[in-house]
């Protein structure tokens, strides 16, 4: 990293934006690893997409960096009954096209979201959206839903301008929201440019131009930071942290994410259906080593739960599986496989999967399980695992609410493609999930979630291994940037210089 | 005629060029009897090699027939052609470019034997190749040499040995001895003669050396710009030259004697291009005896007795004139 540091003493004028010395630097360039597919929030939810979309649109409520709900377009809300919530909208909020945001827009936006197959899975529970008056809107769910507010913080729940969306056939080419930045241009395959929205309800951003630049290779993102070509770069490789930190011109921010990586077992498989086998496997894995090998240390132990610490009902280490090869072997023998067995491990064809699969293979080898790694492209992987062709598989899941996480992982509702690729079904868990969703008593819900976690921690149909860290590198004069665990980050609030 | 090994009828070969059609061979008729040698002489570029190539099926004729033992070469399929090539061979005019630079001398000479399965073993092949090399006077030392290591004369002898290897019935010799010194030339010509006597070989013999032609051929055909202008028995032609071009040709032979300056007929006048030629005698522009009626219409070969044919409108006239003067 020293070399980067010495070069940095050169004036940063080498950066294309030049004007390093001038105090009024108001253009911010953000390097993102993947290009968004859409800038319309209601089509598809991918990380590439919402890194940009978040800046253009606002939602009714928002999560802050500590995962607390904060009012946004809704100034306040009342929970009328178990299924009905009333939102009081902020007045005088302007869309980029100059129109004022009203309850109609909210209704329109949420209905638009529900109508879109790509993003609606979290919102199908909403049965009615009623406009009470211009600034009041009521959302009714078909069943009690304690996590509704959390879901409304997601990009899919972005509020779009009804007028704009109805008047154009291609909203994606000219999105209009009421967020802090408005859309300017998008060169396919190239940069996306946004501009500060001067009439933003919370005040215009000091960053006047915001550019998202796709730089897929992590090392190139680091270099772009070093050369000053970009101001912020997401997802640096852990191997570059030291370099960046050593560079006085740069700084880093990290936080734990809501993304949990796990290894799953297909419980329909005759061998893997045995709990002892799965437990034996858990004993064979040295999670610390695994994190070092797979994430270069850039993650933390998942504590045998799929929930991340921010989530309601987070209950770590209810059952623990120490790294203990002997115990693992004993369990295997108990299950009837004293000499181990061989099985397949399905992974996708990206580096992290590959690293993880090799580490898992090595771990399981210690207790006599021969793992054959089958890596495949994403398309094949999703379809194969949703059909249950696999024995073991390695995957991750991100969630910001306990229900969607646990339901996707362990419920009968989501067998196969919807998330439950272990095909693990316990009616009790399904009941508890429904109950937790319905209750308005959060303590009760927490308790239920804890119980579920306890069951699955014992059964280990899937073994949570690591919670990924999020990181971002930036120029040291970039201030105010907050890293959110949910992978969406608000640029608003960021400024350059003091 | 049954004993004609080769009959060429109305043979034409035109090449397309940028500036028009080049009449390389234009309506040529002749035949060769088994065991005979036909000498083909003519101005450089008049189409001799092209005729040779056509006979061997290396060019496809624009029109006409080439009957080899009664079989039309122009219509032969691949298998027939393969069999025909066992019977007829060619010695190329250019001894160097017709040899594969990546094959050694013995490989080149032995190849026809392998192709036509004329030898049954490696040893037999080697033996035959060495015999052939010996026959044409190539020392054994050269068997592993490559063509570029040889001098011009030896290259030519490699080509000859290759043609002889199949002991064909007919050999098309395109200036086979041009690069040989007279001693080797004598050796090779003797060899060809001996083979003819022994096996009844037939030759179509293209050369510029008229003394060789006279020595070697039974019949001679004289060509000018794609057409035959005179054919006759060899002695007869030298004795009784009819066509003005043939006369010019014969007068230009240099004699290998000191103090002997030749009296050649100088050809002057505009060169006729073979590209899109106009009808009429193609020699007319350079002919000492040309008359106005020589152009406009193609002359045809006419019989002057003794199997002596000549394509000249004024041949009869000139013959009488010449006879008159001599009298």
């Amino acid at each position: 990293g020293g070399s980067g540091g010495t070069a940095a003493t050169q004036p940063a004028a080498t950066s294309p934006q030049g004007s390093a010395g001038t105090p009024a630097r108001d253009k911010l360039i953000v390097a993102i690893p993947e290009t968004p597919t859409y800038v319309d929030p209601h089509i598809q939810a991918t990380i590439g997409t919402f890194r940009v979309v978040t800046q253009i649109f606002d939602r009714l409520v928002e999560l802050d960096a500590d995962m607390n709900l904060v009012p946004t377009l809704a100034e306040s809300w009342d929970i009328k009954d178990a299924t009905t919530t009333v939102f009081h909208l902020r007045k005088g909020v302007k869309f980029h096209d100059g129109n004022t945001m009203t309850a109609e827009d909210v209704k329109y936006s949420l209905e638009r979201c529900i109508a879109s197959a790509g993003v609606n899975y979290n919102y199908l529970i909403i049965s009615e959206i009623n406009v009470i008056d211009e600034n009041t809107v009521e959302i009714v769910t078909s069943e009690p839903c304690s996590v509704l507010l959390y879901r409304l913080t997601l990009d899919a729940a972005s509020i779009v301008s009804k007028a704009a969306a109805e008047s154009t056939s291609d909203f994606n080419a000219a999105p209009v929201g009421c967020g802090p930045f408005k859309f300017v241009s998008w060169e396919l395959g190239g940069d996306i440019t946004l501009a500060a929205f001067e009439d933003y309800w919370a005040g215009a951003s000091p960053i006047k131009t915001l550019v998202f630049k796709t730089i897929p290779e992590s090392i190139s993102r680091t270099v772009a930071l070093e050369t000053g070509e970009v101001d912020i770069a997401y997802d640096l490789s852990a191997t570059d942290f030291a370099t960046v930190e050593a560079n006085p011109k740069l700084k880093m921010a990290t936080t734990t994410s809501g993304t949990v990586w796990y290894v799953g077992a297909n419980v329909k498989d005759p061998i893997l259906s045995k709990k002892e086998v799965r437990q034996a496997m858990a004993h064979a894995i040295n999670k610390q080593d695994f994190i070092t090998l797979t994430f270069n240390g850039n993650a933390t132990d998942a504590s045998n739960t799929m929930m991340s610490p921010y989530l309601m009902g987070y209950a770590p280490d209810l059952v623990t599986y120490d790294y203990d090869v002997e115990k693992g072997k004993a369990l295997l023998a108990e299950a009837g496989y004293p000499n181990g067995f061989s099985c397949t491990l399905y992974v996708q064809d990206a580096q992290i999967y590959k690293d993880a699969s090799v580490a898992l293979q090595e771990a399981l080898r210690q207790i006599g399980i021969t793992v054959e790694i089958k890596s495949m492209d994403g398309a094949t992987f999703t379809s194969a695992t949703s059909k249950g062709e696999h024995q073991l598989f390695f995957m991750s899941k991100t969630s910001i609410d306990p229900d969607s996480m646990l339901r996707a992982m362990y419920s009968e509702d989501s067998l196969g493609a919807s998330g439950n690729r272990t095909f693990y079904v316990v009616p009790e868990i399904d009941q508890m999930l429904d109950e937790a969703l319905a209750t308005t008593d959060s303590e009760h819900a927490k308790d239920l979630y804890k119980q579920i976690q306890a069951i699955v921690a014992e059964d280990v149909p899937l073994y949570p291994l690591a919670v990924e860290y999020l990181n971002v590198g930036m120029q040291s004069d970039v201030n105010g940037f907050k890293l959110y665990p949910g992978k969406t980050h608000y640029i608003y609030g960021t400024h350059i210089g003091e | 005629m049954a004993d004609n090994i080769l009959e060429v009828k109305h043979l034409k070969k035109y090449f397309k060029t940028n500036r028009g059609t080049l009449h390389a061979v234009d309506d040529v008729n002749f035949s060769i009897r088994k065991g005979e040698t036909l000498g083909l002489v003519g101005e450089s570029g008049c189409g001799k090699s092209t005729i040779g190539r056509l006979i061997l099926g290396l060019h496809s004729a624009t029109s006409g027939e080439i009957l080899f033992n009664g079989q039309d070469i122009c219509k032969a399929d691949a298998q027939q052609m393969h069999d025909l090539r066992r019977q007829m061979q060619i010695i190329f005019q250019d001894p160097f470019s017709s040899l594969n630079p990546r094959m050694s001398i013995s490989e080149i000479i032995g190849e026809p034997l392998i192709i036509h399965k004329m030898v049954s073993s490696r040893a037999e092949l080697d033996k035959r190749v060495l015999e052939l090399m010996d026959v044409v006077g190539l020392s054994q030392r050269l068997e592993n040499s490559y063509p570029h290591e040889l001098d011009g004369g030896r290259r030519q002898r490699v080509g000859i040995a290759r043609a002889l290897s199949l002991t064909p019935q007919f050999i098309m010799c395109d200036e086979p001895v041009s690069s040989l010194d007279v001693s080797i030339q004598a050796q090779v010509l003797n060899l060809l003669k001996d083979l003819q006597a022994e096996f009844g070989l037939t030759y179509l013999f293209i050369t510029h050396d008229l003394s060789v032609v006279k020595y070697f051929s039974d019949k001679i055909a004289v060509m000018y710009l794609g057409q035959l202008v005179e054919t006759s028995a060899s002695d007869e032609l030298f004795r009784n030259t009819l066509h003005p071009y043939s006369q010019a040709l014969l007068s230009a032979i240099p004699e290998p004697r000191a103090h002997h300056k030749m009296q050649r007929v100088k050809l002057t006048g505009e060169l006729t291009s073979p590209i899109n030629p106009e009808p009429g005698c193609r020699f007319a522009k350079r002919c000492l005896y040309a008359a106005p009626y020589c152009t406009g219409q193609d002359p045809t070969l006419q019989d002057f007795g003794d199997n002596h044919f000549c394509a000249c409108f004024r041949a009869e006239e000139l013959r009488k004139e010449a006879a008159g003067i001599e009298e």
Binding site: S3, G4, A7, Q10, T14, P16, T37, Y38, I43, Q44, A45, T46, A117, G118, N120, Y121, L124, N172, E187, L188, G189, G190, D191, K213, T214, I215, P216, E217, I219, S220, V223, A224, E226, T227, E229, D349, D377, G378, A379, T380, T382, S383, A384, S386, K397, S404, A408, S414, A417, S418, G419 | K16, F96
Partner: protein, 308 residues
């Protein structure tokens, strides 16, 4: 010659039909469901049905292909599955960048490779020969991305001469072009050397020398033209491949070309996009190869005679 060109262009039709059919078959026979990829990890069966109806995936294979061909004939290559934009829009937004990169790389490869090859052929076994061959070998054996990263670290990160990423003007073209050209440069250098070596010993080179021509004229005018055919063939191939997109170089330098688009499209089973890209490549290759074939005739009159 015009007839020749027309005939060859006419043959684009069967080529395009053939390619599209093959690709269509591959795309539909290989596992993986584009709808699933489109919807992500969580979705309902209704959503799946709805999307696959939208994308027209419910028809039988042949009907889908026929529809595709029918639309394609009218210039409509469909919309991509992933972005829903017209395939042509997606491709042509990136194609110019690809052409620029490929062109620059080819230019660099030829401008450096041919002289190197010539010099080492003329001075066979000399130090120059060995040195330029070493350069060529480094070029070919150094994996693209590796070279790219090295260049970035050295020239962008440490010296700051060139930008590390993106497509903004000439400066940003330099590093990716050099990286991409490394392989072609090596191939062209060696092709040049080896075919010059064949030619330089021909008799007509001796003739040229006998005329008293300067060695450079002998080499460039008399030898090079004869040696050109294999050289332009391999240059054409390299250019074709570069036009098909240079995934690794594009990744390392964040170059907005079609290479990554293609790889992503394949991974996402975005059939219309893959088809569109392959068709573009088929056209490129056909046209390049046609140009190369015409160049053959330009360089060698004997080949020209064959085209008549």
């Amino acid at each position: 010659m015009y007839k020749f060109i027309l005939k060859r262009l006419f043959m684009l039709i069967p080529v395009l039909l053939g390619v599209s059919f093959i690709v269509f078959t591959i795309m539909s026979l290989t596992p993986g469901d584009p709808v699933q990829l489109y919807l992500g990890d969580n979705y309902s069966q209704e959503a799946h049905d709805q999307i696959s109806e939208e994308l027209g995936l419910n028809d039988p294979f042949l009907i889908r292909y026929a529809k595709y061909v029918f639309n394609a004939l009218q210039g409509d290559l469909g919309n991509t599955y992933s972005t829903k934009r017209p395939v042509t829009t997606e491709i042509f937004a990136r194609f110019p960048a690809t052409v620029r990169l490929a062109g620059a790389a080819l230019f660099f490869a030829i401008a450096v490779g041919m002289p190197l090859g010539i010099v080492s052929a003329v001075k066979q076994y000399s130090l120059t020969d060995n040195a330029s061959m070493l350069v060529a070998l480094l070029g070919v054996s150094m994996p693209n991305f590796w070279l790219g990263i090295m260049l970035i670290l050295l020239l962008a990160a440490n010296l700051g001469i060139f930008p590390a990423s993106g497509d903004a003007g000439f400066k940003s073209l330099v590093l990716p072009a050099i990286t991409l050209s490394a392989n072609s440069l090596a191939t062209i250098t060696r092709m040049t050397r080896s075919s010059m070596l064949e030619i330089i010993r021909q008799d007509y080179i001796r003739t040229a020398r006998a005329k008293g021509l300067r060695e450079s004229v002998v080499v460039f005018r008399h030898a090079l033209r004869n040696a050109m055919i294999p050289i332009i063939t391999s240059a054409g191939l390299q250019f074709g491949f570069a036009l098909g997109g240079a995934v690794l170089v594009e990744t390392v330098f964040s170059w907005p070309g079609i290479g990554r688009l293609l790889v992503d499209a394949i991974k996402l089973k975005d059939t219309p996009l893959v088809l569109g890209l392959v068709l573009v490549m088929a056209v490129s290759f056909t046209v390049i190869n046609l140009i190369i074939d015409i160049l053959y005739a330009f360089f060698d009159p004997r080949v020209k005679a064959q085209y008549k």
